[in-house]
Symmetry: C2
Subunit: 149 residues, 2 copies
DNA sequence: CAAAGTAGTCAACCAAGTTGTCTAACCTTA
DNA sequence: TAAGGTTAGACAACTTGGTTGACTACTTTG
């Protein structure tokens, strides 16, 4: 019997590959997973580079590289922090929000197909089961998002 | 609602981190995931470097590096292929088998804890659900194992 | 107000992959 | 059975995406 993490890794890759394929099929430039996760993070809150690094589970330097890329490509911009002169808030541009919206739709499609393949209730159970495990292991604070192969 | 792949990635990492921590707590040198996956692959079959690369989802050159490491560390050895003079079979040494056995016990422990945290039946559903999805997407041939961050 | 801590940047480095090239051996197939 | 295409493995150069370390400017705390 295969260990659960292998199943997780394979499924992660399978879904990611499909996502990636369809994105470029449509002609939208396929960013890396990290970029998408940054968008999603910024959608809900204002955040500094350090915050982003923490969320992704990488160093602030690595996060800074990603933010710089996204900035150059026009998906985010940096604005001065209102009270802390060292810091900057990174925020989504309209282009960034549009990309996220589009990607979310694509994810929905993929999940719908998954639900069709394995059953709606099964998918719900997977979702909730994994979430529950993460809460159990990590309590409140989010774990690193990056898989570390 | 978070996309499923994020949950997969976070869970993969959470379990992997725990595994890693306990391994070194015990004093056993913690190899990388790829090494463990190679052991598991070799347990069941004789395989060449190319086979291993395919299984992991990397190029044969990348696989060759891993095999060389494992060889130097004494976990595997290469023996001549009986009929094909170009090829070599990679096989587990006793040290390799011992490591695998140990790691498997550790995985069992972790899964048992997971089962306790989220319920036995939930874990079974996750297992079978993911496996079913993979069959649905990939048919018979195994997908690449490496997550590709 | 001094000391310790933090955000961001720069630079050097490293790990783990990639592509490309080559040789020797293998597999048609005509 | 020779010829042309394919394959296993090795070697080398390179790319990617991270790391650690050092430093400045600013902030927080005692």
């Amino acid at each position: 019997m295969e260990p659960v993490p292998m199943l997780l890794a394979m499924t992660y890759r399978a879904m990611g590959d499909q996502f990636h394929d369809r994105l470029r099929q449509i002609g939208l430039e396929p960013l890396r997973p990290a970029h998408g996760y940054v968008f999603r993070f910024l959608k809900e809150r204002r955040a500094t580079t350090v915050d982003i690094g923490q969320h992704l589970g990488v160093t602030k330097q690595a996060a800074a590289k990603i933010v710089t890329e996204l900035d150059e490509w026009g998906y985010v911009l940096r604005e001065p922090h209102p009270t802390d002169k060292r810091a900057q808030y990174v925020t989504l541009t309209t282009k960034g929000r549009d990309y996220l919206k589009f990607a979310d739709n694509l994810w929905s499609d993929l999940e719908a197909e998954m639900a069709e393949a394995i059953g709606d209730d099964t998918l719900v159970t997977i979702r909730e089961g994994l979430a529950a495990y993460l809460r159990h292991v990590h309590g409140e604070d989010q774990p690193g998002l990056r898989p570390v192969w």
